[in-house]
């Protein structure tokens, strides 16, 4: 699947296109097929995303969206070396999901 990610212009937070707007949770990411660049052009011009790009992802065995590249998985969660600063500080499996 193809999903879109970027950063919020004002806050810098990592965001994922959920089909209608932007979510900070990668689980909400929508499959955009071939339409990613078009969506990005609109959203970037409207300042709703900064530095956005299209990436490959798949649905893991648990059905959850998993970006293909480790860099985007780290973006989805947070720094692997500071679990307390990630989006899932209480989840012991979060780190292994990234790697």
């Amino acid at each position: 699947m193809k999903i879109i990610t970027g950063n919020d212009l004002k806050t810098g937070a990592v965001i994922w296109w959920d089909g209608r707007g932007w979510s900070i949770h990668v689980e909400d990411a929508a499959d955009v097929g071939d339409g990613g660049e078009q969506i990005l052009a609109v959203e970037d011009a409207a300042c709703r995303v900064n530095g956005g790009y299209v990436i490959d992802a798949e649905r893991g065995a648990d059905g959850k969206v998993r970006p293909a590249h480790i860099k985007d998985r780290i973006r989805a969660l947070g720094p692997t070396v500071r679990p307390d600063l990630t989006l899932k500080p209480a989840d012991p499996d979060a780190g292994s999901w990234v790697i």
Binding site: N7, T11, G12, A13, C47, H69, I70, R82
Partner: protein
């Protein structure tokens, strides 16, 4: 240390207003990111993996307690409770919001701090020896010249859009504690036969994907001509660097392509012309700045004794305390490398502790070193025990300066959008492997430097052991290098062979270290042994 006059303050305040307006226009959509990016980089604001990152300048690594407390306040108020000291003596915050960045810069301006030109294709923070003003071997304190260079290079209009970044370093001793020759423009302060102050000039160094060590262009440049000379160097590079390939635009590439002789010739020709413009700062301005760097009022008649009866304190003294030029005083190094911690990271609470210690015990002065550690430069020997106790309580008393666990690591893929691999976990695993204090002491001086990509912010080219993280078909892979150095015998580390995964690189480092221990001669550090025997034996030991 230097104090702003109203001119300096007005310039920093103007810069805040400038950036506030630019940010407003960006958020309102009046500027594209392509147009805004160079402007925000000129104020130290990157867009990184998780948020914006702000790099605050700590000019030549010197700051006072008031500034450190403000840095702690910023960590608490605008970030997530911590900061990161970098390999260029600056501090970074990882969780910044663009909409708050102008306010942060405004707060920094109230304590004479800024983020001017700390990123992008700018003339960056001028770095200097972190023992400046305390070391016995310096010709003079290099920091007045570093401060002059800072002012000279702030908002230089001709160099508004340089081909790439430009890094300056000033030292004043034979021993190079600041990796001077790894800079685009390195200076060593010397005296000539007549006792006059001048500079050995070393242009053309730099790390990144094509490392070069600076060459010596001048044995002696009269000190009062340094600005003309620097302008000449910058002009030659600004005019002739390639502009078509971002990877070939650093000045070291131009030096390499023209050759040292031709580069020097062009610089000298331009220098003779620039001299006629009369832009050098006068002696009176140097004297005004130098007055701020007069030695503090050191007491005399102090005890030289250090009570070593507490064995843990004795261990710390042996490793962390360096000799001071003033009798009765010492230089105290503060480790930001706890085993299993994150190199260079410091919490807001720890910043407050260090600020208090500086104010109370070090004439209100602190330093940041390019090795991502801190320094209390002027501590009375009789106060070392109290300092140590406070550091112990704050988790800052690790006695590992220049040892195998004193690792330099860039933030890597955990934080940085440029990275190909994570570097911090590798540093942690290595430190844990070598944690035993007796083992560390036995190994002795060993500078490991880890970069998460070829941009080399972890300075792996200058590591006795260097590690470079790469992306190999979507997975993290680590190359091992040996024999680099940032000291006065500057050398570039060489790659050993095929790369390793995370577990493998730790084992490979251990095999290299054990090989050193087997073949070393008395008094040899790891680097010395490598330089004596070369790569072959090490390569065999690593790869079997």
């Amino acid at each position: 240390m230097y104090k702003y006059d109203h001119y300096d303050q007005a310039m920093v305040d103007a810069r805040v207003a400038d950036f506030r307006d630019q940010t407003r226009r960006r958020i309102a959509g009046l500027m594209t990111d392509d147009q805004f990016k160079p402007l925000r980089l000129k104020n130290g604001l990157y867009l990184q993996l998780h948020a914006y990152m702000l790099r605050v300048a700590i000019p030549y690594g010197t700051l006072n307690s008031r500034q450190m407390r403000k840095l702690a306040h910023i960590a608490r108020t605008y970030d997530r409770g911590y900061g990161h000291f970098t390999t260029r003596q600056n501090i970074q915050y990882n969780w910044i919001k663009l909409e708050q960045a102008p306010d942060i810069l405004a707060e920094l301006a109230t304590v004479e701090m800024h983020a001017i030109q700390t990123s992008g294709e700018s003339i960056r923070n001028v770095s200097a020896d972190h023992y400046a003003g305390a070391a016995a071997d310096e010709v003079i304190d290099p920091r007045p010249w570093a401060e002059m260079l800072r002012q000279m290079t702030t908002f230089m209009p001709e160099f508004s859009y340089l081909p790439r970044k430009f890094k300056i370093c000033v030292i004043a001793s034979d021993e190079d504690r600041a990796a001077m020759r790894w800079h685009d423009f390195g200076l060593r302060i010397v005296r000539n036969g007549a006792g006059e102050i001048g500079f050995e000039v070393y242009p053309g160094g730099g790390m990144g994907r094509t490392p070069f060590i600076a060459y010596k262009a001048r044995d002696f440049l009269p000190a009062n001509q340094i600005f003309s000379y620097l302008q000449a160097v910058l002009r030659v590079w600004n005019r002739h660097a390639r502009r078509d390939n971002i990877h070939k635009q650093r000045m070291k590439i131009l030096v390499h392509e023209l050759g040292e002789e031709e580069f020097t010739r062009q610089v000298e020709e331009t220098f003779q012309h620039v001299l006629t413009l009369g832009s050098d700062f006068p002696q009176a301005e140097y004297d005004r700045i130098a007055a701020y760097f007069e030695p503090p009022a050191f007491e005399t008649g102090l005890s030289e004794e250090i009570d070593r009866s507490d064995p843990d304190f004795a261990v710390w003294v042996d490793q962390q305390v360096a000799e001071h030029k003033a009798p009765g005083y010492a230089i105290a190094n503060v480790s930001l490398k706890p085993v299993g911690g994150i190199a260079g990271d410091i919490s807001a609470e720890q910043m407050e502790v260090v600020a208090d210690l500086a104010e109370r015990y070090s004439f209100d002065e602190l330093r940041a070193s390019h090795a991502q550690n801190l320094v209390l430069p002027h501590v009375r020997k009789q106060d070392l025990y109290a300092v140590w106790q406070a550091l112990v309580d704050a988790g800052l008393a690790n006695a590992n300066l220049d040892l195998v666990t004193d690792i330099i690591a860039c933030p890597g893929l955990d934080y940085c959008s440029l990275a190909n691999a994570r570097s911090i976990p590798v540093a942690q695993r290595i430190a844990e492997r070598f944690e035993d204090e007796a083992r560390q002491k036995d190994i002795g001086e060993l500078k490991i430097k880890i970069s998460g990509c070829i941009n080399a912010c972890g300075h792996h080219h200058a590591g006795h052991i260097g590690i470079l993280g790469v992306d190999r078909k979507g997975t993290e892979n680590y190359q091992l290098l040996l024999g680099g150095s940032g000291d006065e015998n500057t050398t570039q580390a060489k790659i050993t062979g095929p790369g390793f995964d995370e577990a493998g690189i730790v084992d490979a480092v251990e095999r290299a270290v054990e090989h050193y221990r087997v073949i070393r001669e008395p008094g040899e550090r790891f680097l010395d042994t490598y330089r004596r025997v070369g790569m072959d034996g090490f390569k065999e030991a690593i790869y079997g």
